[in-house]
């Protein structure tokens, strides 16, 4: 990849980052900052993130988005009425899994 000559642009000077610097994922930057032992009260990108919610998450039907009082114990999908339950019975498993992962509910058995 580096062997490819970059298109010449007159306004650029020959310059290259050290190889390991061109891409660092945020997670890595986070670890780096943590190792720096910054003063505790100094805000950083990672300390200003929103706190976890203290309110109980409201339950909505995975299919229609309506308030869902029921959970199907078999597929773990939430549903709000019998019509939705009926439609769930014919649902292929990848769609069920899609709904579950969208809500962040992932089962222990990947």
């Amino acid at each position: 990849m580096d062997s490819l000559p970059k298109p010449r642009r007159s306004f650029k000077k020959p310059f290259a980052f050290p190889k390991n610097c061109t891409y660092r994922p945020l997670r890595q930057i986070n670890n780096m900052e943590r190792n720096l032992k910054l003063p505790a009260d100094q805000p950083t990108y990672f300390t200003i993130k929103a706190p976890p919610s203290l309110l109980p998450a409201k339950k909505y039907s995975d299919i229609s988005g309506l308030p869902a009082p029921y959970v199907d114990p078999h597929s773990k999908l939430r549903y709000s009425n019998s019509d939705e339950y009926a439609s769930m019975q014919h649902m292929p498993s990848d769609i069920i899994n899609g709904y579950l992962t969208l809500r962040g509910h992932t089962s222990a058995v990947g």
């Binding site: 306004f11 650029k12 980052f17 891409y23 805000p43 929103a50 706190p51 498993s93 769609i95």
Partner: protein, 648 residues
């Protein structure tokens, strides 16, 4: 440095980048902050013929990188889109360099030796030092920028608002970005950095949420549901519910649903669609035609074979005659020519060939199969009402269809891992294997009684992946029979006549967009809907306000300021007013202001700053960069706060 120098303003957002000069009041260049590198084989396809030969060998160009507006069809390269951003922070510097190249060449630096103008650059709130360091290196070392300054987009936007409406000391800025949402308290004109909070939910999450929802609601139209289309839906038709629960409950009523539902027609081409709409009968007809054609082919081949055989038989018979006529020498030579050893072999050959001929002829005679029995429309059995009989038939037909679907679904599930059916299959296989092992360990055969019962053999049927349905042929024939009868007696069996069929086909290509209009943007207030554990916007505002004393809180909520692309949702202001009313003390006052230009606010604010007389004082110059190290920048009223990285 002269005061007249033009300043280049770059609002480098994670969704869109806006670039312009400080003497023109609108950004000249706006583009999606993405790039793509077309695959090599794709390029070859585009220019057939030229690709080979010596011409291209000489000036081999690296794969052409397309940036921003150069991408003609963003949907075609969706999978290969690259962004320098991770959330709102730049992490991929290769990509950022490409994008800067694009910006500078579009802004007319093509023939210049370096970038000779000061630059205003926006960056993320609390941008990590490492990232700024790399941006500095890139701009100073690679592009030779004389001086620059960094600012926060939300603060620039606030700056612009104050420029228009007069100075305000305290505010609570809520900035709705593409990947993040910030709640930013400002007291006495100063950013309260340690109390800023960032919610990692933004426009991107809203769009992908809708995208996934629609894909799962309409698995048939998986490919027609594209990010671009969903973006358009989000931009134009989504709004924030003032009372989410109340609006949801309205949707639960059929009347409301029917009245409010928005139907979105996907591209629909009747020609390609008809294939899927063939009835079982038509499919059967097609299959029959195919079978006929195969049969014809087979007959032709057999005929050819027959002729060949007959010729050979004649030849052999002539040889035999030679022998009978006692022409020994001629006979011997002829035998040699035909590679036949002796008389007995000749006789054997004659008998086999003639046998073959008779067999083929026999088959040809019997082959015209008895034509199908004359179709006679079934009649309702004696003593039964026709309507009742028909409805019974219809039920039977539905039952058959349902069974067929169930079987098909089971087959699909078996093919996938992690499904209940597949797991059951593995369980059976492993128990069967274990039985076998036990027998071997014992040495002698220990009969477990398998096979005593006929049902035992069903085990193999259950573990067979292709779940053999030998009975389904019979079933489909019966299905056709039912359909024929129903068609005969009852014209509007399925969806009515052929005329309405085309219409319903187009309707099959419609997306129903109802609850989604409020459900999708609601993730800003309830991130738990997309599995995030973060506090929602209202909770977050309350959380941030609690850092301050009651009087400070009051000063801030007098100016709640909304900016950023996602602030354009209808109903957002009203919703926030409702939430603030709930969390503020009884009968206290607050006011919400909206940016005049949600998407361009930041750029315009930077423009205001670039035209201030004190602008030169806040520029970080090349000299500063060389003197203070590569992460240094000068603070100003719209910038981050500089915390030098501790040296150990």
């Amino acid at each position: 440095m002269t005061a007249k120098e033009r300043v280049l303003i770059i609002d480098n957002g994670s969704y869109e980048c806006r670039v312009g000069w400080n003497d023109i009041s609108v950004p000249e260049l706006r583009f999606r902050n993405v790039l793509t590198k077309p695959r090599k084989d794709r390029k070859k396809d585009n220019q057939p013929g030229i690709g080979d030969g010596a011409t291209t060998m000489g000036n081999e160009t690296p794969a052409e990188i397309q940036v921003g507006n150069d991408i003609t069809n963003i949907e075609a390269v969706r999978a290969h889109l690259k962004s320098p951003f991770e959330r709102n922070v730049i992490t991929n510097w290769n990509h950022q360099e490409q994008i800067l190249d694009y910006i500078f060449s579009k802004m007319g630096f093509e023939a210049e030796p370096n970038i000779g103008n000061p630059i205003v650059f926006t960056e993320a709130l609390a941008n990590p030092n490492v990232c700024r360091q790399q941006m500095n290196e890139l701009l100073f070392e690679c592009y030779g920028v004389p001086s620059l300054t960094y600012g926060i987009d939300a603060l620039y936007s606030w700056h612009h608002f104050q420029h228009e409406r007069g100075k305000v000391a305290d505010a609570l800025i809520i900035s709705f970005g593409y990947s993040t949402t910030h709640v930013i308290p400002v007291l006495d004109g100063k950013l309260q950095m340690q109390h800023v909070r960032r919610l990692n939910v933004g426009g991107y999450h809203i769009i992908t949420f809708l995208f996934r929802l629609m894909q799962m609601k309409y698995p048939v139209h998986l490919n027609a549901i594209t990010i671009s289309r969903m973006e358009k839906l989000v931009h134009e038709h989504c709004h924030i519910a003032i009372d989410y629960k109340e609006e949801l409950l309205k949707w639960a009523h059929v009347d409301y649903y029917d009245a409010q539902i928005m139907k979105i027609q996907l591209p629909y081409n009747p020609v390609t669609a008809t294939n899927a709409l063939l009835t079982a009968e038509q499919k059967q007809e097609k299959r029959r035609e195919l079978a006929m054609r195969l049969l014809e082919m087979k007959n032709r081949r057999e005929n050819e074979k027959l002729q060949e055989d007959e010729q050979q038989l004649q030849l052999l018979k002539k040889l035999r005659q030679l022998y009978e006529q006692q022409k020994e020498q001629k006979f011997e030579r002829a035998l040699e020519q035909q590679q036949i050893e002796n008389l007995e072999e000749l006789d054997k050959l004659i008998s086999t060939v003639s046998g073959r001929i008779t067999r083929i002829k026999e088959r040809a005679v019997s082959s015209p199969r008895p034509n199908k029995q004359v179709d006679k429309m079934a009649k309702p059995p004696e003593g039964m009402d026709q309507a009742q009989w028909l409805s019974e038939l219809r039920e039977k037909r539905e039952e058959l269809i349902r069974r067929k679907q169930a079987r098909q679904q089971k087959r699909q599930e078996l093919a996938k891992r992690h499904t209940l059916a597949a797991q059951e299959r593995m369980r059976i296989i492993s128990t069967l294997a274990r039985c076998e092992k036990r027998r071997k360990a014992n040495g002698d055969e220990e009969d477990d009684g398998f096979g005593m019962n006929d049902d035992d053999w069903d085990v193999y049927k259950r573990i067979n992946r292709h779940n053999d349905d030998s009975d389904s042929d019979a079933e489909s024939e019966q299905l056709i029979e039912y359909e024929k009868i129903l068609n005969h007696y009852d014209a509007n069996i399925d969806e009515g006549g052929a005329a309405s069929k085309a219409l319903t086909a187009a309707e099959n290509y419609q997306l129903h967009f109802g609850v989604e209009a409020i459900r999708v943007p609601e993730v800003l207030f309830q991130p738990s809907m997309i599995g995030s554990s973060e506090a929602g916007l209202a909770e977050l505002i309350a959380f941030v306000l609690k850092f301050f004393t009651a009087s400070e809180q009051q000063r801030m909520v007098e100016h709640v300021y909304l900016t950023g692309g996602c602030a354009q949702f209808r109903g957002l202001k009203e919703r926030l007013a409702k939430e603030l009313l709930e969390l503020r003390p009884f009968q206290s006052h607050f006011a919400i202001f909206e940016s005049d230009n949600h998407t361009l606010g930041a750029w315009l604010g930077a423009l205001v700053q670039a035209n201030e007389s004190s602008f030169n004082e806040i520029l970080t110059t090349r000299q500063d960069y060389e003197e203070h190290g590569c992460e240094y920048f000068k603070e100003h009223n719209a910038s981050n706060i500089y915390y030098p990285t501790p040296k150990d």
